[in-house]
């Protein structure tokens, strides 16, 4: 309550300032009516408009109505429909004075003179050159919807306004009485709103032995209270009764809805609206009444805003707790021999508790990409509309959880990529039909966890990267020498070069100088990478691979040399202890293994990571057959498999930077750090040197 009074006070204070602006503007016009400064008129318009908006919020209808008329005429002045003359200026001054009067009346809580109001309004209206109200669409602030904030006290709300009547039909059922409701109480409460007429209709054909009451009440209530307040009275009775409210005989609304023309149509529409609103709860969300205890609102989900650093700190500490716990149980079993049953049980409890805490805290940080994807859907719709293309938008893997920070920072990049896909990727309808495709283009946004990273892909079924155009454009811009011989993948990668834009005309949607290079650098800043895969005529996939800084990963812990490495379980197909006869030496350094009738190249992890020399004898190797993101199989040679467990992913990027072939790090039970391998980077390094072929090329930018 007090805050509402405060707001009202602030409103009246602001009105003083607005009136001052208005008078200043009038004075300036008075001084030089011939060359009126448009800014001056604009500021006058804004002043009156603010008064109108504020007054409508506080149900100061007289002020709002008058300000509305004033604003309309100022708008004509602004648009040049009205030419300023001495006479008009005089009316303006009078109107400004009247507005000031109305405001002081409102502030004092007294009723203004209704006759003066009508007189002033008609005087202003007579100024309007066309006699019609100007179109409201060009009103830059027209979108506001007046929101009644409690018609309290003797506010001049009902000046010149007939009180609306509500026709209420109320037919109770037997349950109403069974639940202890008494219609008479409800009607009595209604009566507190205003004069109430009650008629009752008895169904004379009703059977005597039927328990349902054969009665229908017809109520007519004259009140200025909004409909939802009436509904509130019947809130608990409504489920047990046939209940209808019709607003009838509503007077011409004194405050025309700004979006509707102030004619009779508005009244009809308002009535229709209230009918449709049904429960009417949304009509006026803030209703504070002096004589009624405020009703409890629907339970809202309460949230707390927490600094992310604090969450990170907690995650780190819980990680340490988990490690300490495992060290503790390890040393207990080591040193005291047989641990008593009680100690073992307590340790188990402790273990599960720490795990629960860890999961809980992880969940705070991770967030599904669903809201992000929904936001993107809207961007695609809007872009497609502007571009005049028909685009179907599909979403996959909405439930993939990604670090909250990632989601926030992905918005701009994804927006850009999707706009590009709609604007440049998907062809126009006729072109698509010509190419033998469906008329509507298709864009798919997908997210998935892949080998310890999150991969977000935008796939369109458009024309693909027009490599000849890209190449020509890059040469024309001097980005590459004329004689350059580039592979398809390298040409695609040119899209990520700073200062590159293929489309000749800068469109409204994309290509405003900010290009894919910005996307690329932003993704890299997140520790990710962008790849583009394109086939001419078939479409383009832009794939963003992001590290999962704080997610948990199922990993297999393996020993290579003196170090432990973590291989993501999701990539592992099988593990084999190979027969020496199955290993074939191919070339000077590469070996292959025949696994399930397939020749799989062997990758020595120790060699990749530079741990060789400290390595165990090569025959003792265990091979882990893995599948990379392209579906190719490789066998990783490791010395020993130690364990399989969930590991907490720790970023290497935050304190150090990107390490080749390493996705992230984790801390093992003994407190040691183990590196999580980035399989795709390793296999990419292998395959790019051996079998880089086909049009579907991958280029890391």
């Amino acid at each position: 309550m007090s805050s509402l009074i405060e707001l009202r006070e602030i409103f009246f204070q602001e009105c003083e300032e607005q009136l001052e602006d208005l008078t200043d503007g009038l004075n300036a016009l008075d001084a030089a009516p011939e060359d009126a400064d448009p800014d001056q008129i604009n500021s006058m318009f804004r002043a009156v408009h603010s008064i109108k908006g504020g007054a409508a919020s506080f149900s100061l209808d007289a002020i709002a109505e008058f300000a509305h008329e004033y604003e309309a005429i100022l708008d004509e002045l602004r648009s040049g429909k009205l030419v300023i003359t001495r006479e008009i200026l005089a009316v303006f001054y009078r109107a400004a004075d009247h507005l000031a009067d109305l405001i002081s009346c409102g502030a004092a809580g007294t009723d203004p003179d209704p006759d003066a109001l009508t007189r002033q309004i008609s005087e202003i209206e007579s100024l309007s050159g066309t006699g019609l109200k100007p179109a409201q669409t060009d009103d830059f602030l027209a979108a506001f919807v007046p929101l009644a904030m409690g018609a309290e006290g003797p506010a001049p709300a009902d000046v010149g306004m007939k009180i609306p009547h509500f026709d209420i039909t109320f037919a109770p059922t037997a349950e109403l009485y069974a639940n202890g409701h008494e219609p008479a109480h409800l009607f009595r409460e209604l009566e507190s709103f205003g004069p109430l007429k009650v008629n009752v209709e008895l169904d004379i054909n009703a059977a005597w032995d039927q328990s349902d009451p054969a009665v229908t009440w017809h109520l007519n209530l004259a009140t200025d209270r909004p409909e939802n307040e009436i509904r509130e009275i019947f809130e608990f009775a409504e489920p047990y009764a046939n209940f209808q409210i019709l607003c009838s005989q509503r007077a011409n609304p004194v405050l025309p809805h700004p979006m509707a023309a102030a004619d009779d149509m508005a009244a009809v529409e308002t009535v229709a609206d209230t009918d449709q609103l049904g429960s009417g709860e949304t009509e006026s969300p803030i209703v504070i009444l002096p004589n009624q205890t405020s009703k409890p609102h629907a339970p809202r989900k309460s949230t707390v805003r927490v600094d992310l650093d604090q969450v990170d700190e907690l995650i780190n500490l819980v990680g340490e707790l988990v490690i300490t716990q495992s060290v503790m149980s390890q040393s207990l079993t080591e040193h005291s021999g047989v641990v008593s049953r009680k100690v073992a049980a307590t340790l188990d409890d402790f273990k599960s508790l720490t795990r629960t805490i860890q999961e809980g805290i992880m969940a705070i940080r991770a967030q599904s990409v669903k809201p992000l994807f929904q936001r993107m859907a809207r961007i695609v719709r809007e872009t497609a509309q502007v571009a005049g293309k028909e685009v179907r938008f599909n979403v996959e893997g909405e439930d993939t959880e990604v670090d909250r920070i990632m989601i926030e920072r992905l918005v701009d990049s994804l927006t850009h990529i999707l706009r590009n896909a709609v604007d440049h990727g998907v062809e126009t309808g006729p072109h698509r039909v010509q190419a033998g495709k469906e008329e509507a283009g298709s864009i798919t946004l997908s997210a998935a966890h892949r080998s310890g990273r999150v991969v977000i892909e935008v796939t369109d079924d458009g024309a693909g990267v027009r490599r000849d155009k890209v190449l020509a454009s890059a040469i024309a811009k001097g980005l590459i020498p004329k004689t350059a011989q580039l592979s398809d993948g390298e040409i695609d990668r040119l899209l990520f070069m700073p200062g590159f834009s293929t489309v000749e005309a800068v469109t409204n949607l994309s290509g405003r100088g900010v290009g894919m290079d910005v996307v690329n650098s932003e993704i890299r800043r997140l520790g990710g990478r962008v790849a583009i895969i394109s086939s001419p005529g078939e479409g383009t996939t832009i794939s963003i691979s992001l590290p999962l800084t704080l997610a948990v990963l199922d990993g297999m812990i393996v020993d290579v040399g003196d170090e432990s490495l973590v291989v993501p379980i999701s990539t592992i197909v099988e593990t084999i202890r190979p027969d020496a006869s199955k290993i074939h030496q191919i070339g000077p350094s590469s070996r292959m293994i025949a696994a399930r009738d397939m020749m799989v190249p062997i990758i020595e992890l120790g060699q990749v990571f530079g741990y060789e020399g400290r390595s165990a004898p090569p025959n003792g190797h265990i091979l882990i057959v893995v599948e990379d993101e392209k579906g190719e199989h490789f066998a990783l040679a490791v010395d020993q498999i130690r364990d399989q467990r969930q590991v907490v992913i720790k970023s290497l990027e935050s304190n150090y930077g990107h390490v080749p072939f390493v996705a992230a790090a984790t801390i093992l039970g003994d407190g040691q750090i183990a590196l999580i391998i980035d399989l795709d980077e390793i296999t990419h390094g292998i395959s790019s040197t051996t079998s880089a072929s086909g049009t579907h090329k991958r280029a890391y930018a």
Binding site: I315, N316, L317, G319, E320, I323, D562, E563, S564, V608, F609, G610, Y611, K650, S651, L652, S654, N655, Y656, G657, V659, P660, F661, V662, A665, I667, G671, Q672, I673, A674, L675
Partner: protein, 157 residues
């Protein structure tokens, strides 16, 4: 302590002194977060030769730099008595391996003399100045510069 003395002492910058092999150095203590004993580090593949690896510092992965190699004093030979100085440079936590940490000294700005030009070595790039204190010659290290060049080296690697 008189007011004058106190005011004078406030102007002092505290430096932590440490040794690498037989040579003495010091650095601004404001950068130092903590000092830890040597623990085994996890080697990073394809890292610059002076990055020994990463260690676990209460859940954070912290790179450990061989300060001796960084300063061009030869590669570090690990012993159990080595000490790691954990520093916070910008928003990155970095650990430096040194042989021993000896003291904390308060120095006023005038105590630090510019390093005489003795012919370039990578060592001198990272030395801000020189201090003579208690018959010892301390070189003041510019840790920020060390970290910056480390980042560069990483980019190349």
């Amino acid at each position: 302590m008189s007011f004058e003395e106190r005011r004078k002492s406030l102007k002092k910058i505290e430096f932590i002194t440490f040794s690498i092999g037989a040579q003495d150095f010091c650095m601004d203590i404001i950068l130092v977060r903590e000092i830890r004993g040597w623990t085994k580090v996890t080697t990073l593949p394809h890292s610059p030769s002076d990055v020994l690896g990463v260690m676990n510092l209460r859940g954070a992965v912290v790179p450990i730099v061989d300060l001796s190699a960084r300063l061009g004093l030869g590669r570090y030979e690990s012993t159990d008595r080595d000490v790691i100085i954990i520093t916070l440079i910008g928003d990155q936590t970095v650990g430096f391996v040194v042989t021993a940490v000896s003291d904390i000294v308060g120095l006023v700005h005038d105590d630090v003399q510019p390093m005489p030009n003795m012919g370039g070595g990578s060592e001198n790039m990272f030395v801000k100045g020189i201090v003579t204190k208690n018959n010892k010659t301390l070189r003041v290290l510019d840790i920020n510069n060390i970290a910056a060049t480390m980042a560069e080296a990483r980019e190349i690697a």
